[in-house]
Amino acid sequence: MRKILLAAGTALLLAAGPAMAQQKPIKIGFISTFSGPVAVIGNDMRNSFELALDHMGRKMAGRPVEVIYEDDGFKPEVGKQKTEKLIESDKVDFISGYIWSNVLLASIKPVVDSKTFLVIANAGASQVAGELCSPYVFSTSWQNDQTPEAMGLYMNQKGVKSVFLIGPNYAAGKDMLAGVAHTFKGKVIGQELTTWPSQLDFSAELSKAKAANPDAIFVFYPGKAGVQFLSQYAQAGLKGKIPLYTAFTIDETSLPLQKDLALGVPGAQEWVNDLPNEANKKFVADYMKKYPGHRPSFYGAQSYDAANLIASAVAATKGDLSDKEALRKAMEKADFKSVRGQFKFGNNHIPIQNFYLQDVVKDAKGDYVLKTVATIIKDYQDGSHSKCPMK
């Protein structure tokens, strides 16, 4: 009797097979930092990714979407483990996320080897845009050099003649400081790299910057380190004496702690919350409705775009993920409404996009907000694309 029942059950399962395949969910793995002091960034990315799914009815081309969020703990080796887990045990169709360039660099090999599509939502390691570029890897952010390059252009406009560079000693920090030097026409009179992420006291570096007496200081300190840098810069008495120029140091996740210290400190960014396109207005308004007391940051905007990029490609192939070539072509079109406005992919799958100058102001309610001041450069492509063999 039991055997018969078992056989009947198996037969039923087999019969139901094709029907269930139609409804098999699209699996997306999302890696970010959800613990420790930089968890605010990971939470913003997850919030935005979830909001994008809400906006598309949590379905892509009629198939339900399942997202598996994994915490990289801010550590490259953990990020790599989690990436392998997503690919081998969860068998995800897409991977997205990645805040940190060093985590991305540690994790990219298993992704490319398994031909899983990766949509990077932040980390912009220059190697991934150049010699490590892959048909399966896309980015909705930037290549690390681009944002500081835009800042270098702005410093030229402001007539800055000499600059002192300070940043953290890891993949992104080195890219960022190199980026400024690409476009800045004045002299780089000093450069300091600090131990990342353990060093939080920058007294020695600030003293050296002060002694070098430059026209300006450029820094890159993402997350909480940006708060610490700005307070120590003010405490060292440099505010108002040596102007500060930044990339990824002031954003909506750090601004609630930076407050007054961030006023008047310019930054470059490819997205600002007040960009006047319809997709962005909807994103910002719905985000603040769904998560009261929080504002989306560029990390979130890029994650929102990542979800929409994936959805656009899934829609173009009508939910069929088996033809990877067709899926890749659909992704390359970037046929979706990005919250930064229109952009297109370069040959290395990095966006060719505008960069804006942003500033911190107090709004009518007394909150500190970022606003767009000017467009620094239009349709800007990164310098690594020529090193990428893809056409």
């Binding site: 060093q199 007294s203 002694a211 405490q235």
Partner: protein, 305 residues
């Protein structure tokens, strides 16, 4: 030259701050024979209290004072509720028990204050630089840390070397059983010492808060350095902790400041600026290794019978 003076001040400030943390650690370790991994949690609690009270009262100084008192109370409560169960047990039990306390405090702080962290803004009279020597401008806040820490170090010296309580503390460090046998209320003494250690950690935390922001787990990194100092200075010795903290502060800061330039003489600028931060962060451990080779008991070991 002005740069060198300024970097020395940075080293002094960092060293003195570490001294506050290490002094509490070494007192508790030396007198109560207790390995307290949760010392960093008290540092964190001090910072959270100060930030909260400063926001309530609108005054940085008042917030700091209230935060200090609150940390003292929390420290004594922790001693009475938790630490008493650990005395006389194996050091491994201490490590396990106090590690549990770290997790407990981290989660408690997350429940009360949330995961985002707090900031402790400085009043404008501290958020600036002052001229201390002709041509040398120095951060007013870091200067005030130096002054407060030196005052606390002086207070500790007087307390330990010149008062009756200090005599009991020193006696406790040398021979605990004998002190108890002579009729001293050793329980009360332990509670006081632990509270004092907690207050010192809290003071370090709240003074560091405007520089480093207030966040969960902020005490864990710096605790490792504090342990390095107690090892270098000799366990149980406040004087040793003072000398070792200054040594570590100077080595770390001056290493970070001048090591990259030295490396650039022998390496290409790019390789030097990449390697220097990694190498200079190792310096304090090198110092510890050398001290352990030359004087395994530390520089100023407390005399034990």
């Amino acid at each position: 030259m002005t740069l060198f003076i300024e970097q020395c001040l940075n080293g002094l400030q960092f060293g003195l701050l570490l001294f506050l943390l290490a002094a509490g650690l070494t007192l508790v370790f030396g007198i109560m024979d207790l390995v307290n991994l949760a010392h960093g949690s008290l540092y964190m609690i001090g910072a959270y209290f100060a930030a909260t009270f400063a926001a309530w009262t609108g005054s940085f100084v008042l917030g700091a004072l209230l935060g200090l008192v609150a940390t003292l109370v929390v420290g004594m409560a922790v001693e009475v509720i938790a630490m008493r169960r650990l005395y006389g047990r194996d050091h491994l039990d201490h490590v396990l028990g106090t590690f549990g306390l770290i997790l407990f405090f981290d989660e408690l702080v997350r429940l009360i204050w949330g995961p985002e962290g707090l900031s402790l803004p400085l009043p404008s009279w501290l958020n600036t630089s002052v001229q201390i020597l002709p041509g040398v401008q120095y951060s007013a806040y870091r200067l005030s840390i130096i002054i407060v820490s030196l005052a606390v170090a002086g207070f500790l010296y007087v307390l330990v070397m010149r008062t009756r309580i200090g005599m009991l503390i020193r006696a406790g460090a040398s021979n605990r059983e004998m002190v108890g046998a002579l009729g001293v209320n050793i329980k009360l003494l332990y509670t006081l010492v632990f509270g004092l250690g907690a207050a010192l950690a809290g003071l370090a935390g709240l003074m560091q808060a405007p520089i480093l922001t207030v966040q969960i787990g902020m005490g864990e990194n710096i605790l490792i350095v504090a342990f390095v100092i107690t090892v270098i200075g000799g366990i149980g010795s406040i004087r040793g902790a003072f000398i070792a903290a200054l040594l570590v502060g100077f080595v770390d800061t001056l290493g970070r400041a001048f090591f990259p330039d030295l490396l650039r003489l022998v390496l290409s600028p790019n390789a030097a600026s990449t390697a220097a931060p990694a190498l200079s962060s190792m310096l304090i451990y090198l110092v510890m290794a050398i001290v352990l080779v030359v004087r395994p008991e530390g520089l100023f070991p407390a005399v034990r019978k």
